[in-house]
Subunit: 385 residues, 2 copies
Amino acid sequence: MQAAMVGWAHTRFGRLDEETLESLVLRVTTEALADAGVAADDVDSIHIGNLGGFDAQSFPAALPLQAAPDLRFKPATRYENACASGSAALHGALDRIAAGRSQIALVIGAEKMNALTTPEVACVLAGCSYQPEEGQLSFPGIFAQMAQAYFDRYGEQLDALAHIAAKNHANGALNPYAHIRKDLGFDYCRHASERNRMVAPPLKVSDCSTVADGAAAMIVVAPERIGDFRKAVGFRATAQVTDYLPMSMRDVIAFEGPRRAFAQAMTAAGARLDDLAFAEVHDCFTIAELLSYEAMGLAQQGEGARVILDGVSRRDGRLPINPSGGLKAKGHPVGATGVSMHVMSAMQLTGSAGDIQVPDARLGAVFNMGGSAVASYVSILEAIK
Amino acid sequence: MQAAMVGWAHTRFGRLDEETLESLVLRVTTEALADAGVAADDVDSIHIGNLGGFDAQSFPAALPLQAAPDLRFKPATRYENACASGSAALHGALDRIAAGRSQIALVIGAEKMNALTTPEVACVLAGCSYQPEEGQLSFPGIFAQMAQAYFDRYGEQLDALAHIAAKNHANGALNPYAHIRKDLGFDYCRHASERNRMVAPPLKVSDCSTVADGAAAMIVVAPERIGDFRKAVGFRATAQVTDYLPMSMRDVIAFEGPRRAFAQAMTAAGARLDDLAFAEVHDCFTIAELLSYEAMGLAQQGEGARVILDGVSRRDGRLPINPSGGLKAKGHPVGATGVSMHVMSAMQLTGSAGDIQVPDARLGAVFNMGGSAVASYVSILEAIK
């Protein structure tokens, strides 16, 4: 038996001017406890994923306590692994549960990015690359280098990237939690324009995930406690792999960290790709989704474009990828993202995903990434009840 | 049986202009592996404590991989709990080991603070207080408020605080890893002067720990692996307690979080204060050491001064507190401190502490704190071999 998610919460993602990091954290804490029907006093530990650096408040671990007096004195810890900080918090909770030290854990991912201007946000995010060598690059610049390297090795893929963007925007249009709820279409995403300007060639605005505020939370319980709850989504397997920070030390478009994380998790789950009903993958940039297709084994290296061009990853395809709209359309409040991906998947696996529901969702995968494929987390999730 | 530390490393603390966060991390990674006799490939996971915010490089989790090619692809995570980030990383490792997911874990604490000026450092640290209410205060200001509140309730304690500072400087003079290796004496610490200026009344420079660069690391192994190593210091018990972040929500000088953490750890260890040979406690400011005496039960509330005035906590007292010199003299590179406290204790418990060795060290306590008694970690450590 395995640990399971038995309740969750998710704010809308986007520009939430009325929200602070604190208000976001308190909101999802309260809502996740209520969703699971867990009393605050029954929480054994609190795990929060947050990148930080976007406003003056650091040290967010204790903020959730303010949601309920009975959370006072519970151990609370912040985890950071760049844009995979949410999954880092989840793994901390899963370790603590497997250690027998927590029966019921509260896992939160949250980020308030829009306290800063977009150039300031880019500067904070840039700290997640290797400063001595990559300090002059923004993250769009880093993924643009990856896209260009991929084009140089395997041929130009602008159609495929635009189709990925268009697919995720079409999916996001159906997701009430998404930042951008507009089906922008292939033509808009394919061509640079006044609104869809070039950010870092070959990447345009439509190739980049959004700067967003938001939070998500989940209640994770030990296997022996699943019986106490009305719904449950199990962690059939999880994997975490860390690769070198400097891009100069590795073949970055080989996506070796994500590849190993997928392989480890799928092997541990005893699952094949055909067993998956969907996957939520880390499309911080469209090229990252294309590389994820290859890392998960949907295509050989250099052939990822086929997955989208053949329709495999579309809503109605053989393996819908990012039915939520992904980071591209749902938005990417960095510390929240890993938790959000798990919550979106839990909705799918409990048949409560509404307009974004995929059919027959019994098994799903989550791939959350920090940096340029530096921190890679994969979860294989299954419907229990 | 319990997990144990089987090897460690510690840089000198202080102003280390030639070192970066990266070089500090690589140094202690290499040295801790060598000290334990562990091959890089045998490490199952990496846990790093770091506050960050002092230079452009965030996302430090992957840095240790650069110390050895065989660390590539190991899962690595950063933990943050303000000045208790080092203990947060340790607890992550202990959970993972107890979960059976790691047999051998590398735990690192590191901070490079002197990339910034002292006022800039103070600004970064101030983010660890509750911004909506305490945003105008520096950390010396916060602990000055606590000292003043204590004086108002229990009487002025300037002699006791100066004796605490003088004790820790006398101890630090003997510690080759310490930032300040000078026995400053009671008179120097008791009176404000040109060199010992008032920082935030009633706290002077001599009441404050130092801004320092430094790192420490330890190899922590599962109980069943202890037999493979030549030395071992066991975690007989650990405890983590989180209190509210806003000081307005609690009686801050009651030190309730530290008190509960001590009580939980001592109970779990089946130990009494008389069983301890020493304790390393979080003297970020002298008032914090005085409050720690009360939290650990060496004195009733309001009577902590007796512990130092009666000589109990001196090197030759009944329970030497901070034989290393503490944060006061050893220095306080914030993310490194929690790991450093455990490494200093491991030296004591293996009889390898040199000039700072306390006699008959079989059991010792560590208390590491984040913020104004917000994050509290206590370890009870015992000599195994």
